[in-house]
Every structure is written in C-alpha cells, then in structure tokens.
Amino acid sequence: MPESYVNLLADLKEDEVLKLTKKRIDSGEDPMKILEDSRKGMEIVGKRFADGEYFLPELVFSGELLKQVTAMVKPHMSGKATQVKKAGKVVIGTVAGDIHDIGLNIVDFMLDVNGFDVTNLGVDVPADKFVKAMKDTKAPVLGLSGFLTPAFDAMKETVEALEKAGIRKNVKIMIGGGQMDDEVRKYAKADAFGKDAMAAVSLAKKWIGVN
C-alpha cells in the first residue's frame, strides 16, 4: 500500500489520496509513516518538475495536497516529531522593494524536497534582515530572488551589507528570477546566477557538498 500511496500522491490523485489517508489513520497506522510516504511522493513531484514533465500548476496543486494530508495526520501524532535528516541550511528571500514570490516559492519547494533546511524570509526583505538571518541560522548558502530591474541594486546592496557585517566570506550567494542573468550577478557581486529552481538545488548541493 505505501508504494501505491506514494504514487497516487505523485500523480496528484486528490480524492484517492485523501480517502487512503483517512483509511490509514483509521486503521491505526503510525502517522509518521504516512508523512514519510507523503515526503516520498513530493520527491517524485520535484523530480518530475526537474524533468520537465510537471510545471508550476502541478507544484502548486501538490503543495495543496500535502497541506491537506498533514492537517489530517497532525491530530493523531503523539507530539514527538522525528526530524528528517536535512542536507544543510539555505536562506532565501526576495530582495527589498520587490514583492514577487512565485519563483521564490518554487526554489523553496525544490530545495525542501531535496532535503535542505530552508529559511524563507519572504518578499521585500531588507538587507539587514538577510544579515540577521545569516547570523542566526549560520547557513552557508543564501539565495536572493528578484523579478524587477530595481532588484539589481537591492541585490548589490544586500551583498554589500553582508560584507560590512564581516560575514560575506562565510556565505555563498546565488541569485535568480525574472530579469537576472550573469551580468547582474557580476553587478551585484554574487557568486552564481541560476536560471531556474533546479540550478538553485545543484548550486546548493555543490556548495554544501551533498551528492
């Protein structure tokens, strides 16, 4: 059953997944096992997205499915949530003055299903908030997102703020989104530009040293 559950979730069969989730809970199964299967299903979704079989609508819909499954399972958990081992910490956010989050959330999703511990600071994030988050989390990787051309300067200012705080050398910075390219990467003095969420995953893996 778990295997078909994983596949049903990966295939986005909403009714079947919810029915089966209820059945598994009612039969007294360990809720953690259901969540673990959901995670496996989401991994397949992420892989299909990376392979160009799924697109943004499937990511959005799978996220909604997971939310429903988690809400059903949660009341039955004994409280001791076992931590899934994470590949490493990554902080991401859309830079100051820009409120676009579609690309940001795709990157969040893809890093998460690839095992990273993601801190998503959201949109319109001022430079000092990035600095604080890097200090607090001690994450080695920072992802800056931006859609608009004013984000060029905001990215530059964020990188400069990390320099001023003396932590630039501890952090690898990747940028991505709408108008970004390698020219902007140079302008902002970031370490890499990624053209999509898969690039963000492979950069994070490379920098953190995960295979």
């Binding site: 943004l56 959005v60 820009d98 795709i106 108008q179 020219e183 999509d196």
Partner: protein, 455 residues
C-alpha cells in the same frame, strides 16, 4: 487615452465599415494613423511623423521599410530623466507635464507613448485602492514602478456569479473588496431589476454607505479629469512634434484577467485541476468584453496597435498542453476579434515564450506583432518570420547596467539576426525605468547605422 474623442471618430468618414475584409479595415485604420487630428509643429515634423508610421506599417506587413523601426523601452523613465521620480509625477500633474515634454524635446524616437500608465496617485488614494503598491504607498518614495498585490479577490465558489454578469460582479463584489472607499457597493442589490417597479431599485441609493461609495467614485472621477487633461496635452505635443504613438489601446488574455485580478496565480492553478470547466467558461465569457473595451480605446486614440501584456502563460508557468488548453484558445479568439476590427494585436510575451513559438504561429499572415522578452530571437525569426512581425529584446541587464557600447552591440546583433526581409522592430526586453540616457540614444543610433534596408 482621451476617451472624449470617441464620438467624434464615429462621426468621421474613416471608420471601418461592416462588410470590409479585415485587411481593408486595417488599411482604413492605417490611413487614420498616418493622418492624426493634430497641427504639426512644422512641415518637417509632419513629414517625419508619416515616415515613422510608415516604417511601422511596413514592418507589420512583413515588408522592408527604409530602416528598422525602434520602440524605445521607456515607460516611467522621463520622470527620472527630468530629475524627479515616479512618486513626484504621480502626485504633481505639472511635474508630469514638464518631465514628459522635456523627454519629447531631448530624444530622437520612432514612437512615443503618453503617460497614460502613470496613474494619478491622488485618485488611487481617494478610492483607497488596495491591490497595488506605489511609491510612497507601500513602496519607498524613490521606487521606480508600482507593484500589484495578488490575491484571491474572487473565491472559487463565485465563478457562477462572474459568468452570469461580469459587470454586476465587478460592481458589487470586486470593487468593494479592492477599494476601501467603495465598500458601500457591497450593500447594492442586483443592478438589473427588470420588474418595472423603479422605486425598489431607486430606494437603495438612499443608503448612506452606498451614497458614500458613489460620492467617492464621483470625486475620484473629477480628480481624474485633471490628470487626463495633462496626459492628453502631452500626447498631442508628441504628435505635433512628429512622434506617433504605438499604443492605441491595451488588451489582456482572458486567462490573465482571471489569474491576475480575480483568482491569483495559485487560485487559477488550483482551478485548472479542480474546476477546469468553470475556468474555461469564465474565460469565454470575458472575450467579447475584452474586445469591446479595446476597440473603443483604439477608436479614441487613432492608433491601431493594441498592446497585450501576457503574464501567466509563460514557459515555466505551464506545459505546452496546459497552454493549449487553458491559455491560448481564448487569447487567440481575443486577438482574432481585434484583427477582425482592423486592429493589430501586439502581445508582449513576458517571460520565456521559446516553447510556445510553434503554437503561436497559428495566426493570419502579417496580422500580429510578437514582442518578446526572453527569447532566442534567431529561433523566433526562423519559426515566425514568414507569418508575423517580431519585436525585442535588448536584455534588462545590458539596458540597465551595461555601457552604451554594449547596448549598441546588442542592438547590432539583434538587427543582423532579425531584420533581413523586414518584419522586425528593435526594442528592449523590458522598460528601462532608471539608468543612463545614452543607453536609449544608442538604440536609435544602432538602427540608423545597422538597420537601413538597401532596396
């Protein structure tokens, strides 16, 4: 943008008539575009005007003009160039006039668009508009553009209300949710009481909340007039100086109308799975509304080019199959409807339309200008070159952070790739809102140096 001209146009004798083919209607509209209702500053300005319009017309017809025409990637830039910023010109109409007139005097261009997208800040304040941020209102004072706050302003169970009567839906559901001063419209009854007893309909206008909402709308409309006068003045000045407008009106893809304004990106994507039938039905319902609105603004402006910014059908946002199911069919119907009125749709394909090229090829020959943002223009030329005029796409990074010689070199390569045989307009991938004015000037230089057709 000056809608008050609309009636005048219909009284004239140059309107496309029923029974004409779309090509004949378009020729009528081209003729009107070539001879606008304006007194040119000088005979030379008139000459230059006609030369510029002819340049665009030939590019649209896939013929070779005298040289490659240019659309400078300028929207709010004149505010910055005049030493101010967007906030200043949104709130100070005199400053708006000064900045835009200065730009007209100091730049050579093939086309110029009036400041009709520099929305009057006071009007937005007066209605307490909630779904946009602008400089000084949710964004820093010196922010160079405004931004849209997306949300599910229409919950999924209201599709039927929208489909039944979009106008009623806009007034009684959408406006009260998105403009604080118009909340009173929430209390309005249906606005189509066809029962022949007017008193029941009239009495609701005694309600203080409903009255306050209408009053806010009337006051904001009054304020708008001051702004419209300046927009009209600037637009006339540009025409008089010989610069044609290339924005005769603005349209939208039905998928974007639903996705941008009503359901949000997340909402409409959920609908593709949960209620695809309702989504398709709603989009069909919006087609004639989009066409009618656009035709009337083109009639008023005298320019037949219709700018259609495309948002949510881009490469990463959906598969080709989803594009062909949810996005393209209703967009195509809107564009065919506009073409049938003699208009020229200019879809601005934001994002990456590379995967869509083969699909969007399917339009009548020489009827559309495809304006690309991220695109391998060599492939675009190869796939679309024999059916549609293409425009684009000096990248944002080069335009905003590069040196003038880099911009010029990018233009040279674009011209070499896209110009042969005609059917190409040189432009930016996005608008430059700030930055080096020489980066705009070299685009014109490049067109003159590299874009001349020798026939």
């Amino acid at each position: 943008m000056n809608r008050s001209n609309r009636g005048v146009y219909f009284m004239g004798n140059s309107e496309p008539r029923a029974g004409m083919s779309w090509e004949e209607k378009r020729e009528e509209r081209f003729r009107r575009w070539l001879s606008p209702d304006v007194k040119f500053e000088s005979p030379a300005a008139g000459e230059a005007y006609r030369r510029r319009v002819t340049r665009f017309i030939k590019a649209i017809r896939l013929e070779e003009p005298d040289r490659v025409p240019v659309m400078l990637p300028v929207e709010y830039y004149p505010a910055y160039y005049a030493g101010g910023n967007l906030k200043k010109v949104m709130y100070d109409y005199d400053e708006l006039r000064r900045a835009w007139l200065k730009f007209i005097r100091e730049f050579d261009m093939d086309s110029f668009n009036g400041p009709s997208l520099v929305f009057p800040g006071r009007v937005l304040d007066m209605i307490d508009y909630k779904i946009q941020k602008w400089p000084g209102h949710g964004l820093p004072d010196d922010a160079p553009s405004h931004q849209y706050i997306e949300g599910e302003y229409m919950p999924p169970d209201e599709y039927d209300l929208l489909i039944r009567d979009p106008a009623d839906y806009l007034l009684r559901y959408f406006l009260p949710r998105t403009a604080g001063a118009l909340q009173g419209f929430r209390k309005l009854g249906p606005v189509t009481p066809m029962v022949g007893i007017p008193v029941f309909y009239i009495m609701q206008f005694g309600d203080p909340d409903i009255r306050a909402a209408y009053q806010a709308l009337l006051d904001a409309g009054q304020e708008c007039l001051k702004w419209t006068a300046v927009v009209g003045e600037v637009s006339q000045a540009a025409l008089a100086a010989g610069f044609p407008t290339i924005w005769g009106g603005m349209g939208q893809a039905p998928y974007d109308m639903v996705g941008d304004m009503l359901r949000g990106t997340r909402g409409i994507m959920m609908d593709m799975f949960r209620r695809p039938g309702k989504l398709l039905e709603a989009m069909e319902r919006l087609i004639p509304i989009c066409i009618e609105e656009t035709v009337s603004s083109a009639n008023a402006s005298g320019c037949p080019i219709i700018f259609i910014p495309l948002h949510k059908g881009t490469g990463g946002f959906m598969s080709n199959k989803q594009f062909e199911t949810f996005y393209w069919p209703t967009l195509k119907k809107v564009m065919l409807g506009l073409i049938d009125e003699g208009l020229v749709p200019m879809p601005f394909a934001e994002g990456d339309y590379g995967p869509r090229l083969e699909i969007i090829r399917d339009m009548p020959r020489a009827s559309v200008i495809w304006f690309f943002e991220q695109m391998d223009m060599a492939r675009a030329k190869k796939v679309l070159g024999d059916v549609a005029c293409i425009a684009g796409n000096v990248t944002a990074s080069v335009l905003c952070t590069g040196a003038p010689r880099e911009v010029k070199e990018t233009c040279r390569q674009l011209i070499r790739t896209c110009a042969p045989g005609g059917g190409y307009i040189l432009s930016g991938a996005v608008h430059m809102d700030k930055g080096n004015p020489d980066n705009l000037r070299v685009m014109m230089e490049a067109a003159r140096e590299y874009g001349v057709y020798k026939s």
